[in-house]
C-alpha cells in the first residue's frame, strides 16, 4: 500500500478526489493506527479554525445591494425604467374597474395641472423685488416639502397597514385615511409641478392610483388582496421609494431651515 500522506488525509476528510479503494485503505489504516489517527486529528483541528469565522450577512444586504445595483442596471440598459415597470405591474394589480377609475382621476389631475401651469406662469410675470421673491419662494418650497414629507409618512403607514393587517376595523380606518390622502397627494403633485419640481410631481402622480385603489377597496378586502398588494410593493420598491423621497425632503427642509437661520444671524 502507498504510504498515507497528510494530503491524502485532507482529501479523505472531504471524501473527495480519492477513488473508493483508496478511501477504504485509509479508513482501515485509521482504525488500526493511533499515530495516523493523531495526524488526522491534527488536520481536523487546523481546519476547524476556519469554522470560527462568523460571516453571516446582515438582514439589509438584499436591499442595500439592490439600491446600488438598480441605477447601474438602468444605466446599462439591462432593465426597463422603474416607472414604466411600475405602471405595468400596477395595471396587473388593479382590477379593471379600479383601473378605469384611476385613469379617470388621473385625467382630472392632468387638467388641474394644466390650469396650475397657466396660473403659475402668470404669477411669475408679476414684478416683485427679486430678493423678496426669492425669500418667498424659499419659504414656500420649505412649507411644501414639509407637507409632502408628512403626506408621504402617512402614505407609508397606509400602505403598510393595507398590506400587513387582517383587522377589518383597522382596514376601514385605513381606507378613510387613504381617501383623504388622495386629495392632498393630488394637491401636492400640482404644487410641486408649479414649483418646477417635476420629479417630485411625477412621483406623487404615480402614487395616486395606488391610493385610489386603497381608498376604494371593498369592505370585504381579502387576504389575497393584501397578498397581492405585498407582492406589488415588493416588486415595485414603492415603499422604499416613498421612504427615500420622504427622507430626502426632510433633509432638504432641514438644510433650508439651517440656511435661513444662518441668514437671519
Amino acid at each position: 500500500m502507498n504510504p498515507i500522506t497528510d494530503d491524502d488525509l485532507v482529501l479523505y476528510r472531504y471524501r473527495d478526489g480519492l477513488d473508493a479503494a483508496r478511501l477504504e485503505q485509509i479508513a482501515a489504516a485509521l482504525a488500526e493506527s493511533p499515530a495516523l489517527r493523531e495526524r488526522y486529528a491534527a488536520i481536523e483541528r487546523a481546519i476547524a479554525h476556519f469554522d470560527s469565522e462568523a460571516l453571516e450577512p446582515d438582514p439589509d444586504l438584499g436591499s442595500r445591494l439592490w439600491r446600488r445595483l438598480s441605477p447601474q442596471l438602468e444605466e446599462a440598459g439591462v432593465v426597463v425604467t422603474s416607472s414604466r415597470g411600475m405602471l405595468d405591474r400596477l395595471r396587473a394589480w388593479l382590477t379593471p374597474t379600479q383601473t378605469r377609475f384611476a385613469f379617470a382621476v388621473a385625467a382630472t389631475v392632468l387638467v388641474a395641472i394644466g390650469v396650475g401651469f397657466v396660473v403659475g406662469r402668470q404669477s411669475v410675470t408679476a414684478p416683485p423685488s427679486q430678493v423678496a421673491a426669492n425669500d418667498v419662494e424659499a419659504a414656500a418650497a420649505r412649507v411644501l416639502e414639509a407637507y409632502v414629507a408628512a403626506n408621504l409618512r402617512a402614505t407609508e403607514g397606509v400602505l403598510l397597514t393595507a398590506s400587513n393587517s387582517g383587522d377589518t376595523s383597522l382596514l376601514e380606518g385605513n381606507r378613510e385615511l387613504a381617501q383623504s390622502l388622495v386629495e392632498s397627494n393630488r394637491l401636492y403633485a400640482l404644487a410641486a409641478a408649479r414649483a418646477g419640481n417635476t420629479q417630485l410631481a411625477a412621483f406623487l402622480r404615480q402614487l395616486e392610483p395606488v391610493l385610489l385603489s386603497l381608498a376604494n377597496q371593498p369592505g370585504t378586502a381579502t387576504l389575497q388582496s393584501s397578498e397581492d398588494l405585498r407582492h406589488f410593493l415588493d416588486s415595485t420598491d414603492l415603499l422604499f421609494q416613498v421612504r427615500t423621497i420622504e427622507a430626502r425632503l426632510d433633509r432638504t427642509g432641514k438644510r433650508r431651515a439651517d440656511h435661513d437661520g444662518d441668514s437671519a444671524i
Binding site: D6, D7, V10, L11, Y14, D16, G17, A42, I43, R45, A46, I47, H49, F50, S52, E53, A54, L55, E56, P57, L61, G62, R64, L65, W66, R68, L69, S70, Q72, L73, E74, A76, V78, V79, V80, S82, G85, R89, D234, S235, T236, D237
Partner: protein, 188 residues
C-alpha cells in the same frame, strides 16, 4: 433548475426590474458568505457580490441553463472576490501597512465567537499572518471545498484550475494554517 427560478430568469431577461430584485434576494446572502470567506472582509465581500451580480445580469443571455443558476453565479462571484483581494493587495503594496495596523484578514469577524475570544492575541496574530500568506487562489479553493461543500471538479470549473492544481491549492491552504497554529503552540 426549478421552474420558478427559470421563470424569474426569463422575466429578468425581458428587463423586468422586479425579477432582478428577486434574484438578488434569492442569491445575495449565499454569494456574500463565500465572498466574505475568500476576501476575509465584509466590505470587500459586498463589493464583490455587487460586482458579480452586475456582471451576471449584464450577461444573463450567456447563461445557457446547463448548470444551476446558483452555480453560474457562484463562479462569477468567486472570481469577483479574487479580483477584490488582488486589488487590495496591490493597494497595500502601494501603501504598506504600519506595524500597528491590523493584519489583512483581521476584519473578517466583527462579532467574535467564544472560540475566538478565548484565542490569545498572540495566537491570533500568528494565524492571521499565515492566512494572509495564503494566496487568494488557495484561500478560494479551500473555502469552496470546506465551507461551500463544492467538489474538486466544481472548484476546477470555478477557478479555472485543473484537478491537480485545485488539490494543491487546498493542500497548501491547510499546510499554511497548520504551520501557523503549530508555530503558536495551538496544535502541540
Amino acid at each position: 433548475m426549478a421552474d420558478d427560478e427559470a421563470r424569474w430568469i426569463a422575466r429578468a431577461r425581458a428587463g423586468e426590474a422586479a425579477a432582478f430584485r428577486h434574484l438578488v434576494d434569492a442569491n445575495g446572502a449565499a454569494l456574500f458568505r463565500v465572498c466574505a470567506r475568500i476576501t476575509g472582509d465584509r466590505a470587500l465581500a459586498e463589493d464583490a457580490v455587487q460586482e458579480a451580480l452586475l456582471n451576471a445580469f449584464r450577461h444573463l443571455a450567456d447563461f445557457d441553463g446547463r448548470s444551476a443558476f446558483s452555480t453560474w453565479l457562484y463562479r462569477i462571484a468567486v472570481n469577483a472576490a479574487l479580483a477584490q483581494v488582488r486589488k487590495r493587495r496591490d493597494a497595500e503594496v502601494a501603501w504598506p501597512q504600519g506595524e500597528g495596523d491590523a493584519a489583512p484578514f483581521d476584519a473578517a469577524d466583527e462579532s467574535p465567537t467564544p472560540d475566538r475570544q478565548a484565542m490569545s492575541a498572540e495566537i491570533r496574530r500568528h494565524v492571521d499572518a499565515e492566512l494572509a500568506r495564503m494566496s487568494p487562489m488557495e484561500r478560494a479553493a479551500f473555502v469552496l471545498r470546506h465551507h461551500e461543500g463544492r467538489s474538486i471538479e466544481e472548484i476546477c470549473a470555478a477557478l479555472s484550475l485543473n484537478v491537480s492544481g485545485a488539490k494543491q491549492a487546498i493542500f497548501r491552504a491547510v499546510r499554511k494554517l497548520r504551520a501557523a497554529l503549530e508555530a503558536s503552540g495551538e496544535l502541540i
